[in-house]
Amino acid sequence: MALLEIKNLTLEFGSSRSSMRAVDDLSLEVQAGETVCMVGESGCGKSVTALSIAKLVPTPPARYVSGQILVENRDVLRMTQAELRTIRGGVVSYVFQEPGASLNPVFRIGFQIKESLELHRPAAATDAEVVRLLKLVGIPAAEYRIRDYPHQLSGGMQQRVMIAMALASEPKLLVADEPTTALDVTIQAQILDLLRDLKKRLGMSILLITHNLGIVADIADRVAVMYAGQIVELAPAHALLRRPLHPYTQALMRSIPKLGSDEARLTTIPGNVPQLGAFPSGCRFHPRCSKAQMDCSENSSALIEVETGRWVRCAYWREGQG
Amino acid sequence: GGVDSVAGVIGMRDPTLGGTLRLALPTDVRSLDPAIAYEPESWPFLRLLYHGLLDYDEDLNLVPWQARDWNISPDGRTYTFHLLPGVRFSNGREVRAQDYCFTLERILNPKTKSPGDGFFRGILGAKEFQDGKAPHVRGLRSPEPDTLVIELSTPDLSFQYMMAMPFAFVVPQEVVELYQDDFAQHPTGTGPYILRDWRRGARLRFGRNPFYSGREISYLEAIEVMIGGDETLHLMMFERGELDIACITPAGVPIPDFTRIMRNPVLRKGLEQMPHSATWYISLNTELPPLDNANVRRAMNYATDKQRLIRLLNNRGIPAHGVLPPPMPGFNTKLKGYDYDPTKARQLLAEAGYAQGFKTAIWHENDLASSRLAAAIKQDWSQVGVEVELRPAALAMYLEAVKRRTNAPCALGPWFQDYPDPSNFLNVLFHGGRIVDVNCNNRAFYNNAKVNKLLDEAASSGDIERRLELYRQAEVIIVEEAPWVFLFHPFLYKLSQPWLRGPKLHPIWPSRFERMWIEK
């Protein structure tokens, strides 16, 4: 049984008259102990999907149009505020992109971690436990650090504190929304190592959001590629990186410069990422797709399982395959 | 005498002792030092604390107060006072005649900065003393501990009135010298009350003086004065029973609420009225054309509808036909003055060559009554072609402007008497010899040799009747020459609670709190 099961989630922003569909009929599962990555360009709906898991998207302006989000088989979207609070932190914990902005600047980090403990493990809400957590995420001299304010820590440390805070409630699922984008490469590598290590030790599931395919290669078990509010390709990480099937995934991988490669020119995807609410008809990628056919602008294709565990949203995925 | 004054009291039952009188003042009294305080508002409080040698009875006659008796030498230059025995200051010491010498000398001493030194400059040797050429004033002597002799440099019958002014209230030398500049905070006098508490700008409390030994009995246990707020506010507090007297200003009741009170039978019972010794006028600067032309000035008088002005003030006054107000000795009932006659005004203007009218400005204080009057006068004058620019100003600037030579063409304001003698109006306000470039009280800058001569003669005349006659003659000329627009003489009012009893209104001492009592 999946720990998290998103079924046909559709979410819109704005009033019902001028609604903009940010997430469209999205389905995704995360099994216990699994690391799933979501990749895609800016604004394609990754964060909104992630936040929906604990119903954290403010409504309004957002509206859940349809679908279910089952966390341990209970539908988050139909929960009361009190029930939600047990899910938030209790089952699903978050680590956000900008650690500096996500820690409350006016409280000591020890207090902020303890706050989590008090909510979900009141018995363990002690300084010792806080120190243990900080040590767990590799903060040196944790005993002294608990009295620090967030601004007194560097970005990498702040991110570790965030992770410690997320772990405090011993969640089953850690949702990390671009946890390393704001950090330097060397620090980013440290954080990714930490996540992988924690997952192994604590056996939790991770839903990791990124637009860096390198990170995917590093950490993911499965990958969901999103484009314009939809999942266009869903596959085991290794397979996907080896042999992307959707034209968008393929183009994306080609447009990334690779260290040590000798290409003179990068392959580009023509055109721009479509704006929210201005999605093209039919297949949303067709205006930029090199393999687009006549009917791509009319028929929106469904996500089809082309191999076991490999789903692609493209009718012509077979074209050009070797 | 003091005992007589009780006869002037309204009230059926015997006065009761005790109780607190609750009053309100718009602004703090400037000082409780009799040498400094020179505002009508602070005088009633000075009376609580200090007494002097002379006082007025209900008919404005001078009577001995803390003097046993007094006389003026036939040449009118030497005043002799004999002190009542056993009068004590509130610090317990008995008063000696020497204290009066000190008191008067103190006023003349420039260091004191008394605004009243002018009243006593007539004492022999005052000038030398003021200029620092003599250590003492020659004209002040105390041959016996209970005898005070004052010698003047020229005969002056009006000097007796100075001795009844609060400036001449006696103060003890040792206390003044102890506190010096701060004497006002520690007032010590011979009055029936002492200062209990004075939170500047907030409140003032008086309690009984244990050493008081005067002839009149005072009944109130305490007097409490709230400081701040305007008259309307005080009236509201009065109506809610928070005050015993509505307003202790001469107006007594704020103009806007007067009619309402008159129409309210309950409130009306507490309202007392009497003519005030004051005149409202517009001075016309006789040195500035076209006001240097007497016809123009007369025209301004004719152009002003005094009845309407009085109506604007809810009929709280009578039209003025001359300078002197009715309660003043020497008031001339025969003066006709100028009635409202715009046709005549136009005609006079045409004669003077101003058929088209002219432009002028009226300075006035920016209080309600003045503003109202000025606005009405502006409209009146515009009927005869005189275009007026109104120049309202706060008191300090108003005075600066109107007392400066060739500056303000017209100035609207009242003159209240200091003492009941025509010289207090005529000499001060119309004597050409007193014209100075700044701070000139002769705001019309009126200079008529004949008038000057009459006024000089009157001032030094030792005969009361002759004095008054000379003043009458001078006033006739002044009215004829019209350096003022004579407006009206206001009434005095007092609105008090039904339980408050005490002496009637008095043109010089409107409020004599020390003689009031609360009827339970």
């Binding site: 006016v106 304010y149 | 605004p115 939170r199 700008g201 409140r203 400081i227 707020g229 506010l233 701070n439």
Partner: protein, 309 residues
Amino acid sequence: MNVTLTRLSSRLLWSVLVLLGTSVITFFVAHAVPADPARTMAGAKADAETIRRIRHEMHFDEPRVQQYGRYLWGLAHGDLGKSYVTNQRVTDAILTRLPATLALSTMAVVFWMLLAVPVGVLTAKFRDSKFDRTVLVLGTIGLSLPAFWLGRMLQYALAYRAGYFPVAGFRGWRHLLLPALTLVILFAGYYARLIHSSMVEVLSSDYVRMARAKGLSEIAVLFRHGLRNALIPVITVLGMDVAGLLGGVIFTENVFALPGIGTLALQSVFNLDVPIIMGTVLFSAAMVVAANLGVDFLYHWVDPRVKRD
């Protein structure tokens, strides 16, 4: 610690300079008024001779600069001079007026913050709701009322007519209720608005989302995590307003006849009582300067980020 000390001393130095500048300008502006303080002392009727003597006694006939020098000399010795009108020491004059102003300001600030904080937070939470819009309109009306007009109306209706409150004066805390209410009406809406917009920003911040993601209750999210951050920008405005109030609540004090700094300042201006004018202006300037310092320290307390730099 040392850094704080140097910072403090440099701030103090600047404050002194500001006060000095204020004193120069006030002194010369006050003396630019065409009126003679000597006559103020002598009263309306005094003759020219008396006034001349007083001018001389008071050194008013000296050059302006010399008079200012004399004033500064006194100031340097802690002597603010004496009132021309009442001869009271300026320091005493201010100190006797301070309690009324202080009590009124404190009461008003406490009440309006008690009102504005929950309203501001809740309107931010329920943004664009009917409640929010009503508060916005009421708040706008509140800050659009002329203080003296509102004071008079309240006084008339609630004190004079209904008798719920004393009409005026200052004999106890009950006398402060109505003036405080006036100030609350004037300020509460504005502060609710201020807190609202600051709170709206805070509510969209990442750490509030984080607090929700932790599973905190909405009350804790709003008032523990949100409010403290939302108050940070409000502190500056509040500091300046409190300074302004302490410098004299001119209209409200005037309407309710409260013996405060405002009435003192007002009267001194009308009387051209230069020492008191200087005193009250310097006092309110000192309040502003002190408020700035206070705000700085409050910032440190509320916002730990400031401490480092």
